[in-house]
Point group: C2
């Protein structure tokens, strides 16, 4: 790409390395940025660095947040005896958007995948098991309905059943193979209501 000056090429290259951004989009983005006022560009860069710098895992539910404990875990009006297990923070946000779930969450940051060599020790399962020592009525497993998500759900239910805590799985209103974060709120709610005990 020597038809652009070095710094423009570098910018385009950096932007194309991001997910979902191809070479054309990267060029569009780059020239948009080059035409932005300089203070706006600095603000964008600061926001990126600050967010990354201040991010941490909630000490309770492991979601990505900027405090020791996330706002949901800190909220006394949530039902802390009901834990919904999700694969990542975006899936948590998908259920939060429905506004109808008042329990808390546990974010695994992945799913068990023998194909990719991701075992139970590679996701935040230890932390979940530890939480079950407290007062918990039910664990709702809301991993994706993909092969990995189902494997993870089975694994967790087998782990929890002996403790006597109720374990449920969101109903398969969620289309098989679908990614939780792209599903509409009505379907998400139906899946929650129709959950079946495992």
């Amino acid at each position: 790409m020597d038809y652009y000056s070095k710094q423009i090429s570098k910018l385009i290259e950096e932007l194309s390395s991001l997910p979902g951004i191809g070479s054309k989009s990267a060029q569009r983005l780059a020239f948009h940025i080059l035409n932005m006022p300089e203070d706006r560009v600095e603000k964008l860069a600061d926001t990126i660095v600050d967010a990354r710098h201040n991010i941490r895992y909630c000490k309770t539910c492991c979601t990505l947040t900027d405090a020791e404990e996330c706002p949901i875990c800190r909220n006394p009006s949530r039902n802390h005896r009901m834990i919904m297990v999700v694969e990542n923070t975006r899936d948590l946000a998908a259920y939060e958007k429905t506004g109808k779930y008042d329990g808390v969450y546990h974010v695994l940051h992945g799913a068990i995948s023998p194909m990719l060599g991701i075992g139970p020790g590679d996701i935040r399962l230890k932390e979940l098991i530890k939480r079950l020592e407290g007062d918990v009525d039910e664990v709702i497993i809301a991993t994706n309905s993909s092969l990995e998500g189902e494997t993870t759900a089975m694994y967790i239910s087998k782990l929890i059943k002996p403790t006597g805590i109720r374990v449920s799985r969101i109903a398969s209103g969620v289309p098989v193979g679908g990614d939780l974060e792209y599903i509409d709120e009505v379907t998400l709610l139906r899946a929650l209501e129709g959950r079946v005990e495992l």
Copy 2:
């Protein structure tokens, strides 16, 4: 978006303000960035700020570059008596990619649009006219084949004709209404070869 912590929401908001990035893509990008190593994130932010900070207009052709004069204008093996007029730096890059054009460019940074209130004084036309005082054999107008591009082409040709310098327009091998930067190289070349004098 209070289901994300404040800094994550801010990051998602900043990213969605970029062109072509909707709310879902912004979330994907944000979490990708939050999962990147911190030094990679800093490099990304630095590249963005550096590119914007060091960008300037070439003193000859007005393209976006990082030196006083761009590499094409500095290159003695290019034909400096042939000037191709384009709307923006991406269109220049589109013709550079063909590798077959050895003249130089002039970047207008826009096109005349009475609808949007963009007049001849709002694009880099003065700079083009000034260049014509030197030795110029031909001006090739390669603005887009949109209404604005055609208007601009007509305006420029009327301006240059009295000077006796040859003015041509790239052939309409370029589909009408199309955006130059998305067109394949063969079509771009055919349009160049079939250019007609105005």
